[in-house]
Amino acid sequence: MRWLKENSLALAFLVMFLLAVGGQAVAGMLQYNDQQLAQGTEPVSLLKYVASSTFAVDVAENWQSEYLQFFLFIMLTVWLVQKGSPESKEPHKAGAESDEDQQIGRYADADSPAWARVRGIRLWLFSNSLGLVMGTIFLLSWLAQSVAGQAAYNSERLGDLRDPVSWGAYVTSPEFWNRSLQNWQSELLAVLSMVVLSIYLRQRGSPESKPVGAAHTSTGVEG
């Protein structure tokens, strides 16, 4: 019970993710089968739809944009600041910060992770692990989007009695960039909104907000 409470945030998002992706699979299959019938072709099972390029590209294009959003947010907030925002550091802390501030090397605590106490490649890797993992997942998701997208796009083109296109032609096509950019713009707007609105608005009890009574000018303070 205690374990559940201590991990309730991750668990809640995991359950919501599974429900949402399951719902997307069912709704996507129903929409796909509706189109199949209209085109004189056969409906597919849920399993076949989930293994299709149509489902894969829809999933991957959203994944890549979410991981890009977090990757950019993590990396840009190292150097860029926003006065008054709890999402930002205080302006004088811009940059990678000192070893003391980051509790690494001889400034590490007794309970610091092992790789924070050593020097060299392990410290560099651990110091950048969040950005590296988010960036890698973004690139892999974007690659998956391009591969699945090409397959779905070519299936559609063959259905329209048109020649299929190569991967190179697909990743320079309006279809690929429309799918990518329409997701990117919404993610970037959401981050912009969070950075700016959190200067002036509050959510009592949320660590994503400043304390209700904090000044609009105070930066890097989380409630």
Binding site: Q39, G40, T41, E42, A51, S52, S53, T54, A56, V57, V59, A60, W63, V133, I137, L140, S141, L143, A144, V147, A148, A151, A152, N154, S155, R157, L158, G159, D160, L161, R162, D163, P164
Partner: protein
């Protein structure tokens, strides 16, 4: 723990998309059989290889599918020179024709035949749904 899971999910996504082994022989065979039937004046057999929607739309009023195919006098097909399969759809280029096929539960069926390319537009086909 979460990272390997996500990588596995992405790899599975890519694998299911690309497919392990794409069967190009079956659509090529269906396309060759269609033209072989026409060459042998077995139009009824050729009609059996058409997608239902294509076969239904082909005849003019008062005709059946076989009569309509006979009238079209499609040129010889020949051997398959290239096959593209994406999902449930395929394009088969024969020496003398380009065909578009769809995979139904009972096998590959021809959706369009006697097709000529049109720059930046869909192929123009003598037989299509």
């Amino acid at each position: 723990m979460r990272f390997p899971l996500i990588v596995t999910a992405l790899a599975l996504t890519a694998l299911t998309t690309v497919g392990c082994a794409v069967d190009t022989a079956s659509p090529a065979r269906a396309a060759e059989q269609f033209h072989a039937a026409l060459a042998a004046r077995q139009e009824a057999a050729a009609c059996g290889l058409l997608a239902r929607e294509t076969a239904d739309k082909l005849p003019d009023p008062g005709q059946d599918c076989a009569q309509a195919l006979r009238e079209l006098r499609l040129g010889p097909g020949g051997r398959a020179t290239s096959v593209s399969v994406w999902g449930e759809d395929a394009q088969v280029r024969l020496a003398g024709d380009t065909l578009f096929l769809h995979r139904f539960s009972d096998g590959w069926r021809i959706r369009a035949a006697g097709c000529e390319p049109v720059r930046d537009l869909p192929y123009k086909c003598e037989v299509e749904d």
